[in-house]
C-alpha cells in the first residue's frame, strides 16, 4: 500500500522549472533515500509532499488524501507527517519541553499531561531526557537535531520526511543522528530521506532515488542501485564516484 504517491509533479519558479514530471511512491514501512547534486530539486520535491512548496502540475496522495486538492485541510494533513530540516528549526524562544509539547497541545488538542508524557518518552528515546529544561541554543547541533526528531515523533506521524538532516552537523555528531534514524527505520517507520549518507542508504534504504536538474533520473531497489553501478546513468555514476570518494 502506498503511503506517499507522487504523480507527475512539475513545479516552476517563474520561467524556471524546478521539478519536471516527478513520479514515485513510498510504500508503508518503506525507507526511500533521495540523493543528487546541489540544486537538483531534492528539497523542493520533499517539501511538496507536505505542501510546504506548492506545485503547478500533477498530484501527491498521502495516505489517500490529495495534497494538490484545494479543499484539503493542509494543517491537518501536515500534522500527520513528521518533518526534519537541515537546520533543525527548533523554536529558539521555547524550552526543549515546550518544543516537544506545543503542537501536541495546540494542534492535536492533547492535554498538557498527555503531551508531556509523550514528549518525555521520545526525548528519552533520543537520549536527551536530561536536557528537558534547557533551550535549543544551549544544545549542540547533534542534540538539537535529535530533539527535532523527537518533536516530529511526538505527533505520532504516519510518515517522516528528512531534508539533509546531518549535512549541517560537525562530522563527530553525524552518527548520533543517523543512529536514531536507523532505529526508526528498523521499527518500520515510513521514511523519505534526502541525504548523501550512502552508508545510511546501504544499511536501511529499500529504494534509492537519484535526481538531476529537477527530474527523477534513477529510482530503483537499493541492491540494484549500489550493486549494479554500470547500469546507472552517466550523471548518477559521476555523482556516486564523487561522494563515495569522500
Amino acid at each position: 500500500m502506498s503511503m506517499i504517491e507522487i504523480k507527475n509533479v512539475s513545479k516552476w519558479y517563474g520561467d524556471f522549472q524546478v521539478l519536471t514530471d516527478c513520479t514515485t511512491d513510498v510504500k508503508k514501512g518503506e525507507v526511500v533515500v533521495v540523493c543528487g547534486p546541489s540544486g537538483s530539486g531534492k528539497s523542493t520535491l520533499i517539501k511538496t509532499v507536505n505542501a510546504l512548496e506548492p506545485f503547478q502540475k500533477g498530484d501527491i496522495i498521502v495516505d489517500g488524501i490529495s495534497v494538490g486538492d484545494p479543499k484539503t485541510d493542509l494543517p491537518k494533513l501536515r500534522a500527520r507527517i513528521g518533518m526534519v530540516f537541515q537546520n533543525f528549526e527548533l523554536f529558539p524562544h521555547l524550552s526543549i519541553t515546550e518544543n516537544l509539547t506545543i503542537a501536541q497541545q495546540r494542534v492535536l488538542g492533547r492535554s498538557k499531561d498527555e503531551a508531556m508524557q509523550k514528549g518525555m518518552h521520545y526525548l528519552d528515546r533520543v537520549g536527551l531526557k536530561a536536557q528537558a529544561n534547557k533551550f535549543p541554543g544551549q544544545l549542540s547541533g547533534g542534540q538539537q537535531q535529535r530533539v527535532a526528531i523527537a518533536r516530529a515523533l511526538a505527533m505520532d506521524p504516519i510518515a517522516m520526511l528528512f531534508d539533509e538532516p546531518t549535512s549541517a552537523l560537525d562530522p563527530e555528531m553525524v552518527n548520533e543522528v543517523l543512529d536514531v534514524m536507523v532505529e526508526l527505520a528498523h521499527e518500520g517507520m515510513t521514511m523519505m530521506c534526502v541525504t548523501h549518507e550512502m552508508g545510511f542508504a546501504r544499511k536501511v534504504a529499500n529504494r534509492v532515488i537519484f535526481m538531476d536538474r529537477g527530474a527523477i533520473v534513477e529510482d530503483c531497489e537499493k541492491e540494484e542501485f549500489f550493486g549494479n553501478i554500470d547500469a546507472r546513468s552517466e550523471r548518477a555514476r559521476q555523482f556516486l564516484s564523487k561522494i563515495l570518494a569522500h
Binding site: K47, N50, L52, L74, P75, K76, R78, A79, R80, I81, G82, M83, F85, N87, E89, L90, F91, P92, H93, I102, A103, R106, V107, L108, R151, A152, M155
Partner: protein
C-alpha cells in the same frame, strides 16, 4: 531666574504628567496592535490587503502629526455621529488617542514588518510542518521571536511618541507641557517653568534611550 514656585506647583504638574503617561501607554499599546495587523496585511498574499496597508503607511508617514490630531478632533465626533445617527460627545482625550494610534501604527508597522522578516523562513516552515495554521504559526512562533528582536526599535519609537504627546496642546488637553506652561503663566515664571519642563523631558527621554542602548547590547550577544 526664580524657580521658587515650581515645588508648590508639583501636584498640578504631576496631573499633567499623568495625562501624558496615560495617553502614551494607551497609544503605544494600540499603535503596536494596529501596526502588527498592518504589517501582517502588508506581507499577505492578497494584493488588496497589502496594497491597502502600503497606502496607509505611506499616507500617514507623509503628513504632520499635528494635522492628524486636529483633524481627528473634528472628524471623530462627526464620524461617530454619522455611524450611530445620534450626537456623541467625544472628549479631546479620546480623539487624540485615536489620532496617535492611527498615526503611530504606520511607524510601528514598518518596525514589526522588519522584525517578522528577520525571522528565517525555516521557522515558519517548521511551524507549518507540525500542523500549525497561519494564525497559530504567527502567534506562537514568529511574533514572539520577532518582538524580542525588535524591542529596542519599538522602545525608541515610543520615546519619540513620548515627546510628540506634547502636541495635544493644539486641542486644549492639559498634558505635562501644557500644565507647566499654564502654571508658569499664572505664577509669572513662564521661562523657569518651561526650562523645568524641558529638563524633565530630557531626563526621561535620554534616560530611556540609554536604557535601550544597553538593552540592545545585551540582546545582540
Amino acid at each position: 531666574m526664580d524657580f521658587s514656585q515650581i515645588i508648590p506647583s508639583l501636584p498640578s504638574l504631576w496631573d499633567g504628567m499623568k495625562l501624558t503617561l496615560q495617553l502614551l501607554l494607551l497609544a503605544v499599546a494600540g499603535g503596536i496592535a494596529l501596526g502588527t495587523v498592518l504589517a501582517l496585511a502588508r506581507m499577505s498574499n492578497s494584493a488588496l490587503l497589502s496594497g491597502f496597508a502600503k497606502a496607509y503607511v505611506n499616507y500617514f508617514r507623509s503628513i504632520p502629526l499635528l494635522l492628524v490630531i486636529t483633524w481627528f478632533y473634528l472628524a471623530v465626533p462627526m464620524i461617530l455621529n454619522w455611524i450611530t445617527g445620534e450626537f456623541v460627545a467625544v472628549g479631546a482625550f479620546t480623539s487624540c488617542l485615536v489620532a496617535f494610534v492611527m498615526f503611530e501604527a504606520a511607524y510601528y508597522c514598518e518596525i514589526v514588518r522588519a522584525g517578522i522578516q528577520s525571522i528565517s523562513k525555516g521557522q515558519i516552515n517548521a511551524a507549518y510542518a507540525v500542523g500549525m495554521t497561519y494564525s497559530q504559526a504567527m502567534r506562537l512562533i514568529i511574533l514572539p521571536q520577532a518582538f524580542r528582536k525588535m524591542t529596542p526599535l519599538l522602545l525608541q519609537q515610543t520615546i519619540i511618541l513620548f515627546q510628540d504627546t506634547s502636541l495635544v496642546y493644539a486641542v486644549g488637553l492639559i498634558d505635562f507641557l501644557n500644565a507647566a506652561r499654564a502654571r508658569g503663566d499664572i505664577m509669572g515664571q513662564s521661562h523657569e517653568f518651561l526650562i523645568f519642563a524641558g529638563a524633565v523631558y530630557f531626563v526621561i527621554s535620554f534616560g530611556a534611550s540609554s536604557l535601550v542602548k544597553r538593552l540592545q547590547k545585551r540582546l545582540a550577544v
